[in-house]
């Protein structure tokens, strides 16, 4: 059984990973490795030169000469007149802005290829179970045809801060508001003097004295613009509770427009604060929770006897949730990686699905009949057999991620570009985008080349092995 499973090689398994410039599908290609035995009757080698000449000329002048030139150029300063040795390289590793770009590239390399490969694997395995697999694959694959610039514009729209514009925040605020009904009175607070009946404790507003039975609790707040409450109902005093087993009171804005009014007393022009969460605490524990009515009154009925303080928890005073700041300095790199995954997951899925279709069905079937669970089949048979394809996808993604440029350039707003910066972008910025330092630019380009060098060797080794 084991032998047979290892027999047919998954397509893609013997492919070198071809990392191409950004935007390009870095397609691994299998080598057919033909039998090239004794050669007879061939054309003269001179003819080969004629066939190869245009290609070699272009490759020599546009690719190989620049590598040599860049090595020398990177040893000179920005004007190109003064030899500075390895100073440009040293400053890559000392300058704090280039260190940020290196840190970002590390994040990219660690996170993006892994997620893309794992998602590709999951989608490839799951699409085998559905009838509309072709449609699904086309949908996921489609972003690969789209320019990274267009993908960048698409995700700038997705990540718009305003939940009325950006679909990401629109979805998140809807979900958030379903689970939390905070009205939000940011800035509201009690007066900070001895007469004020309540004070701030750890973000919440708590009454200073325990409530007296039958006596309404007054919680006057300030710090809100009266304009905000133009349409709110006037505050009312809570009716005293005759039976004495309840607890009631009023939360209101103790400010009269244009001045006047009595402090800590409900004046007729003053507005009640509706929808505030109110908690009754006894011995530090919450015994009951209620909400204020439109006129600011609240009422706890049937509280067990005891001494209570009233607390308005912090949630009342936090700003209404307005979505996530995707394009701020903190989340910018994860946000761009999200867009990158959107672009590349389909590529991984298609390659892995092709590898999957080469796995002999009866091997999986036999394992299932032997009582293996789906997870065991996946873990013990599918994944090991797919390992070569997974490696090719992963390596291709690493090469691609090292050169990531367009998405960062387009998605990161100018003000956060220093925080989102990556090596390929910094290289462009330093040499063409206003930096004017081609010595440094060349050093960064060579640095980038050194980073992909291991994969160059990986490709060559793979090819030579397959050719044998």
């Amino acid at each position: 059984m084991t032998e047979r499973l290892d027999g047919p090689q998954a397509p893609g398994g013997d492919l070198p990973a071809a990392g191409a410039p950004s935007g390009r599908p870095d397609t691994p290609v299998a080598d057919p490795a033909p039998d090239r035995g004794g050669h007879r009757l061939g054309p003269s080698p001179k003819l080969a030169i004629l066939f190869l000449l245009p290609a070699l000329l272009l490759l020599g002048a546009w690719v190989i000469y620049p590598i040599v030139y860049s090595i020398f150029r990177s040893l000179y300063d920005s004007t190109g007149d003064h030899f500075v040795g390895l100073d440009n390289y040293a400053s890559i590793f000392t300058d704090s802005s280039t260190l940020t770009t290196i840190r970002n590239n590390v994040i990219w390399v660690v996170v993006a290829p892994l997620i893309v490969t794992v998602l590709g694997l999951i989608f490839a395995v799951l699409t085998e179970r559905i009838r509309w697999a072709t449609a699904f694959k086309l949908i996921l694959f489609m972003p690969m045809a789209v320019s990274l610039l267009a993908a960048g514009v698409i995700f700038r729209l997705v990540y718009e801060q305003d939940p009325d514009k950006g679909v990401a925040n629109a979805v998140i605020t809807v979900v958030h508001d379903t689970f939390s009904s905070s009205q939000g009175y940011p800035g509201a607070r009690p007066r900070e003097n001895d007469q004020a009946p309540a004070a701030v404790q750890g973000g919440a507003v708590v009454t200073k004295q325990p409530a007296q039975a039958g006596q309404p609790v007054l919680i006057p707040l300030v710090g809100l613009k009266p304009d905000l409450l133009k349409d709110a109902s006037p505050a009312k005093a809570a009716p005293g509770d005759g039976r004495g087993d309840g607890l009631s009171g009023t939360v209101w804005l103790d400010v009269v427009r244009g001045g006047g009014g009595t402090l800590n007393q409900i004046d007729p022009q003053e507005k009640g604060l509706a929808g505030i969460t109110v908690e009754a605490l006894s011995g530090g524990a919450v015994k009951a929770t209620t909400e204020t009515a439109t006129d600011g009154t609240f009422h706890f009925s049937a509280l067990p006897a005891g001494s209570y303080v009233v607390r308005l928890p912090q949630s009342n005073f936090t700003a209404p949730f307005n979505g996530v700041t995707w394009l701020g300095p903190a989340l910018i790199t994860p946000a761009i990686i999200g867009a990158y995954i959107w672009v590349w997951a389909g590529f991984a899925m298609v390659l892995i699905a092709a590898g999957l279709s080469a796995i002999p069905r009866d091997a999986l079937e036999a394992a299932r009949i032997d009582g293996a669970t789906e997870w065991q089949v996946f873990r013990r048979i599918t994944v090991p057999l797919l390992a070569p394809v997974l490696l090719v996808v992963f390596v291709t993604m690493v090469i691609n991620v090292l050169k990531v440029f367009d998405l960062v350039f387009i998605i990161a707003p100018g003000s956060v570009q220093p925080q989102a910066n990556v090596i390929a972008l910094e290289m462009w910025r330093v040499s063409f985008g206003g930096g004017g330092n081609q010595g440094m630019g060349s050093a960064l380009a060579i640095f980038l080349l050194l980073l992909v060098l291991p994969f160059m060797i990986f490709n060559i080794r793979r090819f030579r092995r397959d050719e044998r």
Binding site: G42, V350, F432, N459
Partner: protein
């Protein structure tokens, strides 16, 4: 297999019934999950399309998804404004860059690939290994030196300069793909033609090239998409009068937010042709990815 427990038939059968129930339920969950994923992948592009079809005031006051409840918002004004503003010239620049860059790569790479596959010459394997090595070279390495070179020859900023850059950096992949296809062509076909005394260029043109159509189609679509979608090369080597759509749109990014009525239709126009090509030729696209199957 060896790691799994021994077969126990009674259990296997029991699991058969139970397993089928689980599969049903699991199958439903998989359907739902994949539908959600598909929606997740479609929504961003759909958003771009809808935004491009709404007026500026609508886009500033409400989300694009409100279009589905108020379809009357649809307008083509953004597109007509965009085309009137001279965006069409950058569209033609994109075409003028992409078509020659694709045709040249196919022609030049096919010749080289033919030599690598079917003409024996000393050092062939070593030279081909160099081509493979060049597959991963980042284009950043060439930006500064080629800019200098173009300045020297006076083609900096011109369309031919951009085209040649794309051709050169498209070649390693193109040669690699085509050479691997060519070596798979049956030797007898070529030898028969050589026996007949056909000159090598005619064998190339009449035997190999027609046989290689699927590989050339794969290569063509890759190269076309790569060049059409390129931003970096255009950013450095194309001046404003020769800039393709990507560069024209990039220059609008700085004011993002105030000019969605330009960016959204522009981005959509730039992606519609690649998308149509992709759907028309997706078979070759996938084949190109899996070139191993074209043995």
């Amino acid at each position: 297999m060896t790691t799994l427990a021994e077969p126990r038939h009674a259990e296997a059968i029991k699991r058969g019934v139970f397993g089928r129930v689980v599969d049903r339920l699991g199958g439903g969950a998989i359907q739902v999950f994949l539908v959600l994923v598909a929606v997740f992948w479609l929504v961003p592009t759909l958003g771009l399309l809808v935004v491009s079809l709404r007026g500026e005031t609508e886009n500033n006051s409400s989300g694009w998804w409100t279009l589905f409840t108020k379809p009357a918002q649809i307008t083509f004004e953004n597109y007509s404004n965009l085309l009137a503003s001279g965006f069409s010239s950058s569209f033609w620049n994109t075409v003028l860059i992409t078509v020659p860059a694709t045709v040249l790569v196919i022609g030049i790479a096919a010749m080289a690939a033919y030599a690598f596959a079917w003409i024996e010459f000393p050092g062939r394997d070593a030279v081909f290994l160099v081509v493979i090595a060049l597959l991963v070279v980042p284009i950043q390495i060439a930006l500064i030196p080629i800019a200098k070179l173009y300045g020297f020859f006076g083609i900096f900023g011109s369309i031919p300069g951009v085209v040649l850059f794309h051709v050169a950096f498209g070649l390693p992949f193109a040669i690699f793909l085509l050479r691997n296809f060519f070596v798979g062509i049956p030797r007898e076909l070529l030898e028969a033609a050589r026996m007949d005394g056909a000159p090598e260029w005619r064998i190339f043109a009449t035997v190999v090239f027609p046989l290689a159509k699927p590989a050339i189609a794969s290569l063509g679509i890759f190269q076309f998409l790569w060049v059409w979608n390129d931003l970096l090369v255009a950013l450095v080597f194309a001046d404003t009068s020769n800039q393709p759509m990507t560069k024209a749109l990039q220059s609008q990014m700085r004011q993002f937010g105030t000019n969605v009525d330009i960016l959204a239709p522009g981005a959509f126009l730039s992606l519609i042709i690649p998308l149509v090509l992709f759907f028309a030729f997706q078979r070759y696209f996938v084949q190109g990815l899996l070139a191993g199957s074209v043995k």
